[in-house]
Symmetry: D3
Subunit: 285 residues, 6 copies
């Protein structure tokens, strides 16, 4: 009854060894460039702890986490302040997981962490595409002079992937310049909803896809616990349908970012993040 | 102006005497088996106090609490820890109300309290049926070895009523085993929504019905103030439509459970619970 | 870099001078007659501070606050307790703005503040109409003997404007008497939703319109941060559609009231209020 | 077990009838002139509900509430906004209690409520003295032009009692003018602490005393749950010693004001208020 | 950088193996008999997570956790509701640690968990004494008929140890009967403070001592984050001095109980609990 | 009544022009290197807004802010993430104020912001000394490899000033190495309290002094609203006495840092920070 072998903590049902795992979960608790309200650094441990309130079984997908081999590596120990060292550490961890033939599932942290993972994924998969669900464009060239920022992260991904490889959904906030830049064909941007995803999924075939989910794509009614809530978003059921469609894709890596537990007084946003991660795990496994 | 006759506190508009009342409201502030976040013990007094912010008139049903005779008995004084004494006290109170020819409306507390009331109702009405709105199946045979738990309460009701007498709606969380057990016909379980209720209402005719409402059937956007919020639930308007349909049934007892005020920072969940209770009172009167 | 000219604080993008401005924003931080939970007095400064988290560009209207001349006058210094002095100060400020040929946009505060602004607007525009979005009727003749109250404010407006000039939408709470009084044709009252607005907009032509938005017309899921949350309201997208339709009207004044930041633990309600105000500014400019 | 005689709620141990009672407790839930953060209107019911977490026995005074006859009349139903009607109702209730030969113990509410009770007490006891514990002077002649305000309440009491009958303790905030006015001998004002109370108690002999306790006299470390916390206050033990000394006085009425539960996230301020009230009840009985 | 060996989480600096450890920390997340506000079940994991904000070095004791061999076993998985199974599991875990020649340091949970550990310690050390710091007597014979309760736990310990072996400090709440029972010599009870501890420490010599610390012995100003805050307690520095004196004793087991993170909005109580545990570890090592 | 000249917001009583001012207040809302809980970036605006709840008069110093010429420059617009640009902007602003012969009073933000101001002050005053009140040593050579950090800021100041010019008070947390480094005479470090300050003040004569106040020097009971609360600190009255002693010194610059409003649920910490700043303004004027 007394545990003598170390107090191992994992996300719900992620009890495989690293070697056996098909999916490797890790946290990227960085929020150094957050311009509004910080606190996403606390997302990963809170999600892990809260996941025990969930069932391993999904009645939506009729599937169970107990049937999937997942390893939870805990949080990366990222330094504070300047972003480069954190991004390098994230890239290194993601590369290792990819090298070992597993799928990385990163839990943020702010959205900038995606850049580290995309760097690694693009190295292994030159033909990488990105599916991006978010309230915000994140396409600025720089933000207050800073090239590495949550507000520029998809632009930096575009620097790597080039035109036409990024698909954005649910977008409802950005500068006029960002929307105009997107409209020139640099990225595919669908405003307000996720409707066009079905078509995109069909067109992508078995191309390698990195899926990045900024949880603020959800309406603040469904997900208030984030630093920059933006009204007019999608419902949980919309998001769930999107995630289930990922089954048809070749997802080589993914992340779920921007939960800020400090703004989740009821705990409902954290519980929702856990459920989203469960469904994502089941969809990509 | 100075009240010299004792400081009587009641739910909005429930100012009938016990003798005159058609409906008797009482609180069951027990949360001893809550496995996640406790606090539903504070539900009944908070609902009572907050109800004064509501109007007695319902524009939905064009009816007014002032036209209904309801008595509020306050909270039962339930002991802490082990569940049996609490359930016995709830059963005794419910039996008394039923014996006096009135309809009990219990405010929880955790969902286990329903078992005490159902025991009493099933004794008086051997042909009792249950309509159960919830996010969770609550059909486990036991939970960590415990037979009496919020997670087993409908299974215990099934022990009493037998197959085919329990109708579950809105269910979106449970173990695979629970869903499979339900699918064998032990209970009628509708996943995710309340759509099938209209049909069930028709089929039940004037059979005696106990209505148990776990407020977490609502989506967390509409009702974050509960211990185990579960995304993907029904809207307030869906629930309201369901409640209005109860008018066509022979409801012999009912309860509203699982409000946890500690997780309701805005007060919106408590206000919603009050409104739900008002509509329920008007529907069954 | 160091600002030597005074620390000027404005709502996002409202950097015009008073003279150049077409729209003048001011706060009316009064909540003296609030019967339930007070705190709307803190609405205006919190909205101003939080607006910096928003973009100036609206992808809904494809318009930008940077292209509109708006002046932010800060808060009126209203006294506490009795309502008359506060209403007089609001009326005076509104009259001045109207006299100078600008559109006043008042941020509340409780709903009673609307009366001060309507008095001023009705003096300048004898043919004034009111479009009123709210969860509550606000049509009582008096409240606990008090004629000036958040619960009577539209009745007081009716005293000024007379029958048939007030259009209410989204109403879902009130006494039976209020609904009956409205049904006699004193005001146009649409229960529950905003559907009928399109028709009303057409019928009003270029008549002068005062638009008053009680944010609790939104469902508590979308807007919990208010003193009296009332389930069953409209969604943010419903409200947004309503606001965009104001473009077709001759809006001579407007207000946004009843944000209570104390009940907005996540900040999502405040952010939503900011977004609503941005869209309203763009629609009436 | 089921209570059929109405749901009577009282402060801990206050179960005497009005007729038998020596002390009568009532709430004055008014906060209409609060200039900073409102919310003391919720003080009385929250104190009553929370008092059940306390013991009836005081190890400090070796006395038990069960040995004292106290009646709890609940809250007065005070109107919102303008202060006069509320003060009149408070005066009437206090007069009645005094007329019936009992000691009133009023729970606020903001400090202005004291004026209503003092009016009544001064009528019955022309030689009334006031002992006033507070962080703030409350001696303004008017506040933003308003004569009736929490910031003027002791000045209004002085209007009734005249020079030298008011003893203030713990004061650490006010305008320069207020301190200067006090120093002219209009009132006895001790800054910062309660040390001088022992001497005052001796000098007062059996003169009739009204005791008014603004809980913000406590340091915010001991009592953060108030609208205007003011650092540098007294400790709970200092206050307790002061209260126990009241035993030697002829206390004809008293109040405890300015608990604002909204700012008491931990509940410790509310619990402290309950304990203070228990000790006060035992001291004056 | 990527951790491939399991995500091991420990209290600050507790990185020894079980075999090498002199002290074994474990959590007892049980709060089933809490009569007031539950939530201490969340104490152990929150303490562990928050401890990383602390330094391992104590300037008070000039000692460092890095120089002590401590193993953190994580939480026991205790069932909900009835107390017996939880107490049995705690007793078994404590017995094992004692059998292996190590000192158990248990983190609660409510105070009842102490009984499980004391049972184990008393079996190994028939001459066991208890030093008990608390705001509450915890000496009831039963509580609402329940023998096993946070309110009876020291009485149950007395059942095991007999008269004169329990030393209570800081006590300021209880029934008159409890204080009278203690005064008969059954236990040594010091009211209000810890002053007498120095003398007791001297008198105990090298007798085996179990040290149980209910954190509510601290004044609510220093420790608001507990279910039943009780004003008039000791300061952090008082408690620290008491803990340092434990160095002179033969402490064979200890616990720190009653942190309830839900009532610790600022996090200061949790941080204080962590610091107390660090100092306790250093004192008994 | 309607303000047509821009909505100027200042700290209480700071209504001088820049030219006339003797003291210049500005905010430094940077928290990029915070390792524990971020949020001090919100300190300056919250302090400014809350200061209106304070009086301008200090009964402690018998002085009034209305008699002092102070200008409030609002917040510097500091970029996010990497610290160098923020420090450069702070240094530039401070240099300007010093050049103009005024005293800078900076409101943080995290403690690292002090470095920018000290750089400027040391350039103008080569003989600069620092008086530093804090719970933490802040003397690390680097923190996770980062030289610029809240945990290294005083070490960086020592790089500039050299041995023996920094006086630290109230310190109760740090690594063993930091305490040992200090003990070698690099800085003067007093553990736990402020007692030695009187002597230091005498010895400093009219040497130029920079005063930096980390508000976490206060005990968490007096000041919970900070990112890393550390029990065992000084009381508000201790701090007040220290501040009043600054009157005898030649203070050429100062700052007040580490208020984190997110952890100040009651508002008492913010109110205390405002009062501390008022007393500091009066002491150095």
């Amino acid at each position: 009854m007394l545990n003598k072998n170390g107090n191992i903590q994992t996300f719900l049902g992620c009890d495989a060894t690293y070697e056996d795992a098909k999916i490797v979960v890790f946290g990227a608790p960085y929020d150094g460039t957050t311009s509004n309200r910080p606190g996403t650094r606390f997302g990963p441990p809170v999600v892990r702890a809260d996941s025990s309130g969930l069932e391993t079984y999904s009645p939506y997908q009729n599937a169970d986490l107990e049937d999937v081999q997942i390893y939870d590596a805990g949080e990366l120990e990222l330094p504070f302040g300047r972003p480069e060292p954190a991004l390098d550490m994230i890239e290194a961890a993601t590369s290792q997981i990819l090298l070992d033939g597993k799928i990385p599932l990163m839990i943020g942290g702010e959205h900038l962490v995606t850049l580290g993972a995309v760097r690694a994924a693009a190295k292994k998969h030159p033909n990488l595409h990105i599916i991006h669900l978010d309230a915000h464009t994140d396409l600025r060239e720089d933000y207050l002079g800073e090239k590495l920022s949550h507000a520029t992260v998809l632009r930096r991904c575009h620097d790597i992937l080039g035109d036409g490889r990024i698909y954005q959904f649910g977008i409802r906030s950005g500068t006029r310049e960002e929307f105009e830049w997107a409209a020139k064909g640099h990225v595919h941007l669908q405003k307000f909803n996720l409707d066009w995803l079905t078509e995109v999924v069909k067109s992508l075939g078995d191309a390698p896809v990195y899926f990045t989910l900024d949880l603020d794509v959800l309406d603040p009614s469904a997900f208030p616990g984030t630093g920059t809530p933006e009204a007019g978003g999608v419902s949980f059921m919309d998001l769930l349908c999107a995630i289930v469609q990922l089954k048809q894709l070749n997802v080589v890596g993914c992340d779920v970012v921007e939960l800020a537990p400090s703004f989740d007084a009821s705990g409902a946003s954290t519980a929702t993040a856990c459920k989203v991660i469960r469904e994502l795990m089941l969809a990509i496994s």
